[in-house]
């Protein structure tokens, strides 16, 4: 039987890295945007 380990490992490693990368990026972007909105709201409140 042929050895397919290179293709199998690459498939799983690439998929895992891409999915995890996109998830981390989306989470961080969501959090930083929320923080910025919160900061602006706070500034507006302070200015009255």
């Amino acid at each position: 039987m042929a050895d397919y380990s290179f293709y199998i490992i690459t498939t799983y490693a690439l998929s895992g890295a891409v999915l995890a990368g996109l998830a981390i990026f989306s989470y961080c972007k969501m959090k930083s945007t929320e923080r910025e909105a919160q900061k602006l709201r706070q500034m507006r409140k302070e200015r009255g």
Binding site: Y4, Y7, S15, V18, S26, K29, A37, R44
Partner: protein
């Protein structure tokens, strides 16, 4: 439907769904990968290389269902002018493009040892590539115009026109003579695969759907915050003037 057009209500609902979707998504990925790599049989023809199917096929399913999701949100946005529907489509497009790219790349990695080539311009592969470009076009239209309303409408029309590609992808292996194998799961006479292989495949399919649910909710929350920032900045500019 307009009940959830209120961003605060939507955020509350999303915050309730997210922990469960993250938990079950992680469990589904862990279980699916365990079965795919250690607890499912090798194929009698393809041998161990069949294990790539458990990543490639659910990615291909997700790429099509996400496109369907964008088409539905586009329809809702155009007909009922639902504000969150537009944001949902915008939030889903980068996820769909990434998963479609993964489906194409993992398909190529599976194709090389099985067919002797990474790529061939057959109907299935080409129609999926067209879907990838539709995702890019949809996102590009959002970026191309300053007015979000106009951009959203143009992108929605493109998404609806592109729906014609979904049946082409599904039936391409029947309508044309393709290198890609024909359907082995969604067939009129039932799946042609043993239960030991179907189990990890469906678990991974669910994992991809939960992954999409989590990411689309995060990205929608991000889009809502972006709109808030924009509105607050406009208010600040108006007050200064």
């Amino acid at each position: 439907m307009h009940r959830f057009a209120n961003p605060a209500k939507f955020n509350r609902l999303a915050d309730q769904i997210l922990p469960w979707a993250i938990f079950f998504g992680l469990v589904a990925f862990a279980t699916g990968i365990y079965y795919a790599l250690f607890n499912s049989p090798a194929d009698y023809q393809q041998g161990e290389s069949v294990r790539m199917m458990y990543v490639h096929v659910p990615a291909a399913w997700a790429s099509m269902s996400i496109y369907g999701f964008i088409a539905v949100t586009s329809f809702v946005a155009l007909v009922w002018r639902h504000p969150l529907a537009l944001l949902a489509g915008k939030a889903a497009a980068p996820i769909g493009a990434t998963i479609t790219a993964l489906a194409l790349i993992t398909g190529a990695l599976w194709g090389k040892p099985m067919w002797g080539t990474y790529w061939q311009w057959d109907a299935r592969m080409t129609s999926v590539l067209v879907m990838f470009f539709l995702y890019l076009g949809y996102s590009a239209l959002w970026q191309a115009m300053e007015d979000d309303e106009k951009a959203g409408r143009a992108a929605s029309i493109l998404a609806l026109v592109g729906v014609v590609n979904l049946p082409i992808i599904k039936f391409s292996v029947e309508w044309w003579n393709t290198l890609h194998q024909s359907a082995s799961i969604m067939r009129l006479d039932g799946p042609s695969m043993p239960a030991e292989m179907l189990k990890p495949l469906f678990i991974m399919g669910i994992a991809y759907q939960l992954y999409f649910t989590v990411l689309v909710l995060w990205r929608m929350k991000m889009e809502i915050s972006k709109r808030k920032i924009q509105a607050l900045r406009q208010l600040a500019t108006a007050n200064e003037a």
